[in-house]
Subunit: 346 residues, 2 copies
């Protein structure tokens, strides 16, 4: 299988290099092809998502992604900012389903701001819609009749967009505890009312899954009060952005958590939830676990190798349980030494 | 001064009755006039915000509000749901500035899911815009050219709307540590880019206040990781809804936190941040502290009685420090007994 390796900015190259090393040790017959993305691509080619990179992403069977983001580009027009690369990839490849698991790795209780007995119960997956909502509706500036500057972003969903992510939610729930929570703001938003209607319609096909609904403000509260109450959450692009980052932090370890962005055929882009961390880039300090776990998700979701995925995940958990710690976890291991600790458990 | 007492649904009547009792004991020459709102008003008059209630709210010098919300009305059209009463009051009265302080009351460390040393540092105010954003832009359903149902909500802000809430943010920062954080999603939203531009423009008038910016997903993370880093946060209606509920829960005590919604002349609506809690309504179990502290905010912001406000707040803190606890705080006091404990400290 062909893997597009889009390492990107900051610590992206360091952590994806370790993920690649783990995959190569497993000897899975993968071919890696690299291409620039983000600020690195802007420097090299004048655009955060050059045509050659998009082309590689299309050709590949799966994409292993590092991180994009570079404060040096903050003054550029929005279309040219590093972050546009990830938005462009999601849209162009139809990667509509974002899976973001969050759990506390045993031994990392100290890393969470939550009380240990509360943090320990976190084991959830957020299924976030990724190619619609206010992210991709019409947007622009205009001048009002009173001569005022006005900014606009249209929040929108159609029934097909909601139905297909709802199905991913129900399917994911089936692989776990068969409960699905849909999060919206139906007391205010028309988009959310449609969302709720369609999720309820889709639920007819999943009589074995128990569906419930929660407003997003309450969900943000409950995520702090008792995150252990959640199992699978399905929600829109914007609410998913906020809630999934919050959930990761409740689990204490943004350096430990992977994500997948899947299309309807199971092809996907896999990336750590952490960003490019320019402050520690190039120092060999970054935690490679999120990238390694993203590679595991790639094996499970795009390459039909679930047992290998399980093995990698078990090796990461064992390394953590054995005391291996990078700086973000209060330890002193280098990026490479942390990956070595994972490899030792393979 | 004339106070409109809009008790509303669920525990609203119980908690506002205690707030009124505290105000009456202080003998401030206030006149109270009551009117139905929310589900109670729908039952009495067929609308959650009847014209007489709106008229009273307009005539009054300030509004003491309980809570609205009643699951019995969930099947009604959105325009007739209890929650529409609060949205209507905000819009009709131009209550654009929502102040939501969050702090951990000494002695309530157990109530927060955060580790005590982290929770103890929480002392922040969220300044949330309340009459714009995706809450009040055009919304509706339509059928796409492919015959699909589509939901729409327009997120919009004009420069005047942003500037006036930014000024409230800067003014609030001046009364505290002179640092202001503006939260947006400027890497994705045009509305947020305008928001950021205007906040920066307004900052020129406040050279003594240090302004910074953060994306909303990162803010939701940081609110869990280290909420003590925040002082005054200014943000839009939707992000403010989510972040303020999250912040209150970090502080551990949704039964303890008040809020103010102010117009440009300082007139305001004051309400607990908790909802109508139908499950415990009518049982005399609800914590009246949030309503009592909302009355204190009313004295400070709308009635120019800041010393009385301070006295009430000190009495609540003293009652808590002295061990007074309703059920939500792990105690057994009734609503009235909790208010008695506060009155004892006045
Ligand atoms: C970089 C940004 C555009 C992106 C998003 O908002 O989707 C990021 O926050 C994420 O969650 O992957
Ligand atoms: C009831 C609801 C419409 C309201 C809001 O979203 O503003 C509430 O959540 C709040 O924060 O006051």
């Amino acid at each position: 299988a062909l893997i597009a390796l889009l390492a990107g900015d900051g610590i992206g190259p360091e952590v994806t290099a370790e993920a690649r090393r783990v995959l190569e040790v497993l000897d899975l017959g993968l071919t890696f092809e690299e291409a620039p993305v983000g600020g690195a691509a802007y420097r090299a080619a004048g655009h955060p998502l050059p045509p050659e990179t998009l082309d590689l992403a299309r050709r590949a069977d799966a994409i292993l992604f590092g991180a994009v983001g570079d404060p040096a580009f903050d003054m550029l027009e929005r279309a040219f900012r590093p972050e546009q690369a990830i938005l462009g990839l999601r849209k162009e490849l139809g990667l509509f389903a974002n899976l973001r698991p969050a759990r506390l790795f045993a031994g990392l209780e100290d890393a969470s701001a939550l009380k240990p007995e509360i943090a320990r119960r976190i084991d959830l997956v957020i299924v976030r819609e990724l190619t619609g909502d206010v992210y991709f509706g019409e947007k622009g500036r205009r001048t009002t009749t009173e001569g005022l500057r006005e900014g606009n972003d249209l929040m929108r969903y159609d029934e097909n967009e909601v139905a297909r992510i709802a199905r991913v939610g129900f399917e994911t729930a089936r692989t776990r505890r068969s409960i699905l929570l849909s999060v919206d703001k139906a007391n205010v938003l028309e988009t959310s009312q449609l969302w709720r209607d369609v999720v309820v319609e889709v639920s007819a096909g999943y009589p074995d899954v128990t569906l419930s609904h929660m407003y997003v403000d309450n969900a943000a509260m409950q995520m702090v009060r008792d995150p252990g109450q959640f199992d699978v959450i399905v929600t829109g692009n914007l609410f998913g952005d906020i809630l999934s980052d919050q959930a990761s932090m409740c689990a204490g370890s943004i350096g430990m958590l992977p994500s997948a962005a899947l299309d309807s055929a199971g092809k996907g882009l896999f990336e750590p939830i952490h960003g490019s961390a320019p402050d520690i880039a190039g120092q060999g300090k970054a935690n490679p676990c999120a990238a390694i776990l993203s590679a595991a998700m790639m094996l499970r979701h795009s390459l039909a190798m679930p047992e290998r995925a399980d093995r990698i995940e078990a090796a990461v958990a064992a390394a953590i349980a054995g005391g291996a710690r990078t700086g973000d976890l209060g330890g002193t291991l280098s990026t490479t030494a942390m990956a070595d600790a994972v490899l030792a458990g393979l």
